[in-house]
Amino acid sequence: MLKQILSALCTSVFCGCLFAMTPLNDEELGNVDGAGLGMVLEDFAFESGSAVGDGSGIFEIGDIRSGDEGQAVLRVSRYYIAGDGSNKGANVMGNGVSIGQLSAPYTISVMDGDDFGIANKAMLRIAAPVRKGGNILSFNTETRSERRFPNQPPSSGQRVDSVAGIDLSTLNGEIADWIDLGLTFDLAINNIPGQSFDVPQSLQGHVEGLNIDGTQWRLWGDNNQVLANLDLNIYASSIVFQACAGGQVSGPSCGQTVQYSDYILEGQLGYGDDQPVKLTVLNNGQLQMEVGSIAGKSRAFYDEYYSSGPRVDIHIGDISVGNQRFGSSTIANLQIQYLNVRTRDL
């Protein structure tokens, strides 16, 4: 009797083990819908670079080619992340910012791809806080008709005419709660006759009131290849660039500032597994980013793609150089049917 029980027990235990070791296929994994990991950085501030501390530090970014002029080296004197009122990096420590909130954290989660146009697959989602509402930008539209290809009949429909409004209440918090960050570096370009590493130029860029709520990467696998969709949502109340003489960050040696106010980018790259984004390395070692082609799809697909598919809207409230203002600038309803970007050696 004992033997029978023992053998039954052994068999059942082994069966259980074998079952447990059966690999899950894509479809089974596709049904996985679990909890994720939430992340919040509270009262966060960060600064580094050669000008931080006793000033003896080194932070160099090298191996960047600069046309025929040889190698460029960026010597970073300061880079920082801080809260509102950072004053271009002068007020960083003690001026923290909360990146994410308990009610709207950054998350990493495994999700069912079916809800995102990726059939029968599980996907990994890395996401910034979810927005409270929809888009920041809204547009006025008008009915227009134009000929888009030579010798083809004109087509008419609703076209974007102008920006109707900017609604920041869709984002979590207010401008005073958002991130300031910046980078100041000396640029040294080697092998220029008459110049050496000792005569660099200083460049600085500062972003104020940055919010990326609604941004997310969705990643999944297919034939040993990582595919992705990207939602990119950026708001910055101000982006400033300025060039100065080597080692300087302010004063008479500095040129005029270039400032973007109310910079808004709302865009999607890729459309489920119908249009994945791929990052690949070519045979010659060059990096390639590809947004898949939508050629050869059905009429129903195109109808849906052009009415509610991925699009990119960019709006800059005001561009100014020194005291000269150039007004606003908008790119609306940009759709990418195919994109292939690759690096090459200079």
């Binding site: 990582v226 990052l279 060059q286």
Partner: protein, 192 residues
């Protein structure tokens, strides 16, 4: 008889021990755990260094081979220049398709003081709504010193470590102070 006595005393001893073992294995309830003191967390000070003096697998100088700790011949791979040879650091290669994205020649280190690790209970979130979760709270160190920390980001047609990276994207060298403040909170979330 002596043997019998021995057995008897063992039996008595095991009878004495068994109940205490069973008691020790009884699970603590949440209330019991709550009453445990000394939950202040962990305060960490440390330094980590990666291949600061070159890796064990490679040698940089031309000429007869050198040997690793297991007596195998080191491969020649120079991450410096021919005039100033240098052994290579850590290499992490990630295959994208046929090609590889490579974090190459990672060397150097970081020293930090005052990294704290603890858990805490948060009842309500910023808006005053119920949060009701335990969070892992990682307190960032106030200052981190980087010590000749270097890496190169590159793409390569081969993931093997004997080849130099085919095409460098950029290389970074950092030596100096990093100031920081804040807490990183980690907690489980329900994803809709």
């Amino acid at each position: 008889m002596a043997i019998l006595t021995g057995f008897r005393s063992m039996f008595v001893a095991s009878c004495l021990f068994m109940p205490s073992l069973l008691l020790a294995l009884e699970p603590l309830t949440n209330d019991d755990l709550d009453a445990v003191h000394g939950q202040g967390g962990v305060y960490l000070t440390g330094e980590f260094t990666i291949n600061k003096d070159g890796g064990p697998l490679w040698y940089a100088e031309p000429g007869p081979g050198q040997f690793d700790d297991f007596g195998g011949a080191k491969q020649q791979r120079n991450c410096g220049s021919s005039a100033n040879p240098k052994e290579c650091g850590l290499r992490v290669a990630y295959q994208l398709n046929e090609g590889w994205l490579v974090l190459d020649d990672v060397t150097g280190g970081f020293a930090f003081e005052g990294l704290t690790l603890r858990t805490s209970y948060i009842a309500t979130d910023e808006k005053g709504d119920a949060f009701d979760k335990e969070v892992v709270e990682i307190g960032l160190p106030k200052q981190v010193r980087s010590n000749e920390f270097r890496y190169t980001l590159a793409t390569s047609s081969s993931g093997t470590w004997v080849n130099n990276a085919d095409s460098r994207i950029l290389s970074v060298r950092q030596d100096g102070t990093i100031n920081m403040q804040g807490n990183l909170l980690l907690f489980p979330v329900e994803v809709p």
